[in-house]
Subunit: 128 residues, 2 copies
C-alpha cells in the first residue's frame, strides 16, 4: 500500500473531475457520507484522487486513512459496507457528498453515526 | 482580521473541546452544515478553534475562509444566516456536524445547497 496520497493527475480519475478538486495541503478532499433515505449524516472521511476514482467506479466507498496512511474500503474489515447511490462535488471543489446505503453501523465505536451521542454544548439562537 | 488560523490553545474555546480536535496541517476541522428538519446537507466549511468557539457561543455559524484568510460569519454579507440548533464532534475529532436553521440559500451561487446540481458520474452498486 502507498503511504502518501496519490499525486494529482497520477490516477485513473477523470481529469475533468480532478481539475475541479481543491485539496488540503496533504492532497485530500473531505467526503460527507449520508444515508440516502433517512438523511442521517453517518461520517466524514477523506479521499485523495485515487480513493475518489475507486468510489466512483466500484460502487463501494473507499477512503484514504490519514491515521493508517493507506486506502480503506469501508466495511472490508467490519462488514459495515457503504454502497454508493450518488456522489456530488460542491461548488468550490473541496467537499464531496456521498449518498449511500449503509450496512449496519457507520462508526467503528458501534454507534450508527460517528456524531451520535457526541454533542458539544452550544448556545442556540433565540427564536431560531 | 488575522490572516492565519488561530493557534490551538490561544482562543476562548473550552480546553476540553480543543484537546479533542484533530486538525488538518493548516489547523482546521471540517464542519458539515445540515438543515435540522429536512436533513439536507447544505455545505461544508472549515473552522479553526476560534471559529468553533464563536459558533458555540453566539448562535450563529462562523467559519474560517481558506480562500480569503479571514473569519466569515455566514450571512453577514448575503443575509443567508445560519442559526445553530446543535453541534457535534465526531469520534476522531476531525469533523463537526452543525445542525442549523438556514435562512434562504446556503450556496453563494444561489442554489439551496452547495451540492445541488453537481453530481458526478458514479457506478451504483447493483442491488443496493
Amino acid at each position: 500500500m502507498p503511504d502518501t496520497p496519490s499525486a494529482p493527475g497520477s490516477t485513473g480519475l477523470d481529469p475533468d473531475v480532478a481539475a475541479r478538486l481543491t485539496r488540503t495541503p496533504d492532497g485530500l478532499v473531505c467526503a460527507v457520507v449520508q444515508q440516502h433515505d433517512s438523511g442521517e449524516v453517518l461520517m466524514v472521511g477523506w479521499m485523495d484522487d485515487e480513493a475518489l476514482h475507486r468510489t466512483l467506479t466500484s460502487g463501494r466507498v473507499t477512503f484514504w486513512s490519514r491515521s493508517r496512511r493507506e486506502y480503506w474500503r469501508k466495511g472490508d474489515t467490519s462488514g459495515h459496507t457503504q454502497h454508493v447511490r450518488s456522489v456530488a462535488l460542491d461548488c468550490d471543489g473541496d467537499a464531496l457528498l456521498v449518498r449511500v446505503d449503509q450496512v449496519g453501523v457507520a462508526c467503528h465505536t458501534g454507534t450508527r453515526t460517528c456524531f451520535e451521542g457526541r454533542e458539544l454544548t452550544a448556545v442556540v439562537a433565540v427564536g431560531a
